[in-house]
């Protein structure tokens, strides 16, 4: 008996139209039933972008999540990160700043204008003369074009807009440029990655290159890829930007975290994006 109704009698009495309508409503709202081939694709290995790569094959963090966590990411209606995506979509059309413009006024429809953008950041901006992460590019648009104050790095607004913009490249392979003026900054990011730090004297590589797939207490160590960020972290109960994740990693090895948006973190972000080149953008990913 469900909702006080005897379903067998309902169907037998010929009210099939009602039963089918209710089933259709529940399926439409709950999303399509999980397809085995579709949700295991993200766990498959990807060939590294070049022969000179520290990893033999690339795995998204998706691979290291349990099935219930993967299911959360597989369907937008179950993915808590989509709350930030929705907020970003709302902010896209909201006028802000002295110029009285919204993102939509210049960029029109995000699905078209922002497609591919999230897959190629960070980018060396010649006009600014520096390497920019996506968050910095968004804030640059706000200050230069919208005459609006920049959003704080850890704010829901900036995480939401970054997630919304990057998610327009969902499914596309990450591909960043590390030549020209970005080359030296790429090397700086790589040096940061390989350097031991903190009271525990651990480097990013120690866990995410040499120990990926092994367990650290109860957690399976991933390759530390960035293709899903901003990601919904279950342990933080919120969507977090990549730099906030860097700060968390620093704290875990009892190292002093750097400022969000610092040059060292942007350089590291470039190195990570190259290191995960070819993985599909999964923003907003769900990670534990």
């Amino acid at each position: 008996m469900l909702l006080g109704m005897n379903w067998e009698k309902t169907l037998a009495a010929g009210r099939r139209r009602t039963a089918r309508a209710l089933l259709a409503v529940s399926l439409a709202v709950g999303g399509p039933l999980p397809a085995g081939a579709q949700d295991s694709r993200l766990a498959q290995p990807v060939a590294p972008p070049s022969a000179e790569h520290p990893l033999a094959e690339l795995f998204s963090g998706y691979r290291y999540q349990s099935v219930p966590v993967r299911r959360m990411q597989d369907h937008d209606i179950r993915n808590p990160g989509m709350l930030w995506y929705d907020y970003g979509a709302k902010l896209w059309s909201l006028a802000d700043g002295e110029a009285g413009k919204s993102c939509a006024d210049c960029h029109n429809v995000a699905e078209k204008a922002m497609r591919g953008v999230g897959a190629r950041y960070p980018v060396f901006d010649a006009a600014e003369g520096k390497l920019l992460s996506l968050e910095q590019r968004i804030n640059l648009c706000r200050t230069l074009n919208m005459k609006a104050p920049p959003w704080d790095w850890g704010s829901d607004e900036l995480v939401a807009m970054t997630a919304y913009v990057r998610a327009q490249s969902r499914g596309m392979p990450v591909r960043v440029k590390i030549d020209g003026q970005a080359a030296a900054l790429f090397e700086a990011g790589k040096a940061y990655y390989d350097r031991r730090r903190g009271q525990l004297n651990l480097s990013c590589a120690g866990c995410h290159q040499f120990s990926a797939g092994k367990k650290l207490r109860a957690t399976t160590l991933s390759q530390g890829q960035s293709n899903g960020f901003p990601a919904y972290r279950i342990s933080a109960e919120r969507a977090v930007s990549l730099h906030q994740q860097f700060q968390q990693c620093n704290r875990r090895v009892r190292a002093a975290p750097l400022a969000l948006g610092s040059d060292a973190y942007v350089n590291l972000e470039l190195y990570l994006a190259w290191r995960g080149g070819g993985l599909a953008v999964e923003t907003p990913a769900v990670r534990n």
Binding site: A13, D86, Y87, G198, Q199, N201, G206, L216
Partner: protein, 197 residues
């Protein structure tokens, strides 16, 4: 409600399902009610780098038998307690040895009537070799060296140095100029490892 016709009840059920789905899915709106995750309060018990004096005990390296080097005398003459050593070995704020090492003997401490015992002793990492029988493979001095500063014999190992400040970089201010483990804590763990024959 019981006197409603079957078709009226169907429509009521359908609208209830729809209303519940909209309520769960949420309406589009700001996230002003999201509460950020607060950091732990300073000085809270069992916070890393809050315990002990932070001093590093002096020691001298001697030749080992299985390993090239060892540290023979106990640090600052402390006498280790193996039971306290178990506590440092499983605590994330202290040695947290089982973050990387399996210690099979600890599984005997999982008791059904102690709900916390599964959490404390039931999970271990696989980054590093098992510590089963480690006392049969290494001398006491070698075990001490492997905790105090394994870099002396394993320069490329991931393992931290638990009682040394040499060569550390970018340490968090709360932990600056403090070793991970105090000298008594090192001796407690050595005493515990000696029971793993």
């Amino acid at each position: 409600m019981s006197r409603l016709s079957r078709s009226r009840r169907s429509m009521l059920a359908a609208s209830l399902v729809g209303a519940i789905c909209i309520a769960v899915g949420g309406t589009q709106g700001g996230l002003a009610t999201m509460v950020p995750v607060a950091p732990p309060p300073p000085g809270a018990p069992d916070q890393p780098c809050r315990a002990g004096t932070g001093e590093v005990a002096g020691y001298r390296l001697s030749p080992g038998t299985t390993l090239a080097k060892s540290i023979e005398p106990p640090l600052a003459g402390h006498r280790g307690d193996p039971e306290r050593g178990v506590r440092w070995a499983v605590s994330p704020q202290h040695g947290h040895c089982i973050a990387c090492h399996e210690i099979p003997l600890l599984k005997e401490r999982i008791k059904p009537d102690q709900p916390d015992s599964k959490r404390r002793f039931g999970y271990h990492g696989t980054v590093a070799p098992t510590l089963e029988g480690v006392a049969a493979r290494f001398s006491e001095g070698e075990l001490r060296l492997l905790i105090v500063d394994p870099r002396a014999v394993l320069p490329t190992a991931i393992k931290p140095a638990y009682h040394s400040l040499d060569g550390l970089h970018g340490v968090a201010p709360a932990c600056a100029a403090r070793p991970v483990l105090s000298a008594p804590q090192v001796e407690d763990i050595v005493a515990f490892l000696k029971t793993l024959k």
